[in-house]
């Protein structure tokens, strides 16, 4: 559907080199990279705000590399929203609709529909200068979706929001995607990729270094950069099943492994993330306060940048990071039965 081929762009102090990827209709494609890696430049090139030095962009098999910005059918939501400060929220929503020459009634209906969908109907008369970051983000999203773009481009849409708003907006983005909207989302936050993406590209120093599903990219990083950048191998789709108390919940991963963790989410599906450096491995069942203790079998011992990575099968594969000294002292090897433990506070639940 959207095909970016060999795009390069030389900027004053920075280049992007030979960027290629393709996004299918309905995909949620996350481009992950640190600040200054060239993520926003890629979006601006797709949107036509910047011309590449070489390479092509095809949308639905049509070459749009040199197409006028206003004719591209891709909608870009800027990192700082770019909501017009001199227009009311309503006027902001009407702005794109008036550009395409729709009937007055049609414009009004579409605006009301968008305002409802994004829960901003109560803000229509307000000036954008009085809105919070989360509200501005919804206005920017509604405005961009007004023209039904073939592809929605999001530049760090969650970066300046607090955790609660982030969760709400993640949920909203997933809802928009599930309605069939193709989305390309650039971010520095691997949690966005895990929670939202069905396809991830990791970009470093202006080049895409790995592309694939979140599982492929995070669990089998092809380069040290990807491994170090994400640092996350233990993430699993999970359902909240029991409420122990207001915040302590039990989530079940793959109907196999139950994990105690802290979350405000009451029910529903999300992702459990456990950083491998927060997991303790031992030869006998440890007598410690951690709520999550599992017996398993070592399936692999791998060298890592700092120490050694041990993969333990407890019904799901868990990665544990230990030092070379610890490995030597406790002698973990393939097929050995071990115990792993982590605190409820070490497991994070992402929900939307």
């Amino acid at each position: 559907m959207l095909e970016v081929k060999n795009i390069s762009k030389k900027l004053d102090d920075f280049n992007i080199k030979d960027i290629s990827f393709s996004v299918n209709k309905g995909d949620y494609f996350v481009i992950l990279g640190v600040s200054g890696a060239g993520k926003s430049v890629i979006l601006e090139i797709i949107a036509g705000l910047m011309q590449p030095n070489s390479g092509t962009i095809h949308l639905n098999n049509k070459n749009i590399t040199n197409e006028k910005i206003q004719k591209r059918k891709v909608g870009l939501v800027f990192q700082d929203y770019a909501v017009f400060p001199h227009l009311s929220v309503k006027e902001n929503l009407l702005y794109p609709l008036k550009n395409v020459g729709l009937e007055k009634e049609e414009i009004q209906n579409r605006m009301n529909e968008l305002a409802d969908e994004m829960s901003i109907s109560h803000l229509l008369k307000r000036s954008p200068t009085t809105l919070s970051g989360g509200e501005l983000q919804r206005v920017a999203l509604a405005r961009t979706l007004a023209l039904n773009p073939e592809c929605l481009l999001l530049d760090e849409p969650l970066s300046s929001l607090d955790i609660q708003l982030k969760n709400n907006l993640r949920g909203l983005l997933r809802k928009i995607n599930r309605k069939g909207q193709t989305i390309i989302h650039v971010t520095h936050d691997y949690e966005d990729a895990i929670f939202l993406a069905n396809k991830v590209a990791v970009i470093n120093d202006g080049k895409i270094v790995q592309t694939g599903s979140p599982e492929e990219v995070f669990k089998n990083p092809k380069t040290k950069f990807v491994a170090n950048f994400s640092g996350i191998k233990n993430f699993f789709k999970a359902d909240i099943i029991t409420e122990v108390n207001e915040n302590l919940k039990k989530a079940v991963i793959n109907n196999k492994v139950s994990v105690s963790l802290f979350t405000e989410a009451k029910t529903g599906t999300g992702f459990v993330i456990i950083k491998n450096k927060n997991i303790i491995i031992s030869n006998i069942k440890p007598n410690i306060s951690a709520m999550n203790n599992y017996q398993g079998v070592v399936v692999d011992v791998l060298p890592a940048k700092f120490g050694v990575e041990i993969i333990v099968d407890i019904g799901i594969l868990i990665s544990v990071l230990i030092s070379a000294e610890t490995l030597k002292k406790y002698d973990f090897f393939e097929d050995k039965k071990v115990w792993i433990s982590f605190k409820a506070s070490s497991a994070k639940f992402l929900h939307g």
Binding site: Q70, L76, F78, A82, P96, A146
Partner: protein
């Protein structure tokens, strides 16, 4: 009690002298004329006509030349092109040259033997001594205020807002009128006010292209030359009053727009 820094006291004293320097001559002029004299002057038809002429020619110059100046300011703020710095330098020339020299330059430009002069003659009027030439002289010396202020205004509009508008399907011309112009409006209004005010107060360039009909600064000069200080003073006071009223009114209007 909060202690006042000695350095602030010194600066306030020095600043006070500057304020006195501006206000002293103006206030002494006001106190030197009786209210009766000022009142009589306001009823003087010659004075009234000259004030109307000054206001209309300056306003005309501001409105007409803004149509050309505002797009140029936008280009200078947004685009990079060869000789851009040279053009910015050229814009400031009227500010630095003597205004009588500017008048001589304009006179040579619009006199009967030039293309512009001949074209005007073809339509049956002579530009020399015509209100149009007064407007041209006023515009020549005052247009840098509008150009520079509007350029600052357009520069302060975030480029990404214009890009966002393009991405939302707007044509470049619609982006200019719906995003760039409204967001730069405060600076543009400021520039228009400055251009209008500067045009009204112009004397040197105008007296060379058109002694008659008389704008108020020329009338003040003539009354001073023919009758002396006593007769020039009330006209000056009335004209300063009119200028201040317009200046304050326009400032208030632009402020209201800002708050709207």
């Amino acid at each position: 009690m909060k202690k006042i820094e000695p350095v602030n006291l010194i600066f306030a004293f020095l600043g006070g002298i500057v304020l006195l320097f501006i206000l002293g001559p103006l206030l002494s002029m006001f106190f030197a004329s009786s209210p009766q004299e000022i009142f009589e002057t306001t009823k003087d038809v010659e004075v009234q006509n000259s004030i109307w002429l000054t206001l209309l020619t300056s306003m005309g110059a501001t409105v007409v030349f803004s149509i050309f100046a505002i797009p140029l300011s936008y280009l200078l703020a947004r685009k990079n092109f060869y000789f851009k710095k040279l053009i910015i330098g050229i814009i400031d020339i009227p500010v630095v040259i003597p205004h009588s020299a500017a008048g001589i330059a304009i006179l040579g430009f619009i006199s009967r033997d030039t293309v512009i002069g001949k074209t005007a003659s073809y339509f049956g009027f002579n530009l020399i001594g015509h209100p149009i030439s007064i407007s041209i002289a006023m515009a020549f010396v005052s247009i840098p205020f509008l150009l520079n202020s509007a350029r600052d205004g357009f520069s302060s509009v975030p480029v990404r807002l214009e890009k966002a508008a393009l991405n939302l399907g707007a044509s470049p011309i619609r982006v200019f009128f719906t995003i760039s112009l409204p967001l730069a409006w405060r600076n543009i209004i400021s520039g228009l006010i400055m251009m209008f005010a500067r045009g009204m107060s112009e004397f040197g360039a105008v007296i060379i292209v058109a002694y008659h009909p008389m704008i108020t600064p020329v009338l003040i000069y003539e009354r001073f030359g023919a009758f002396g200080l006593k007769y020039a003073r009330p006209v000056s006071i009335v004209f300063i009053g009119v200028c201040l009223i317009f200046f304050i009114l326009l400032r208030l209007l632009s402020k209201e727009r800002k708050n709207a």
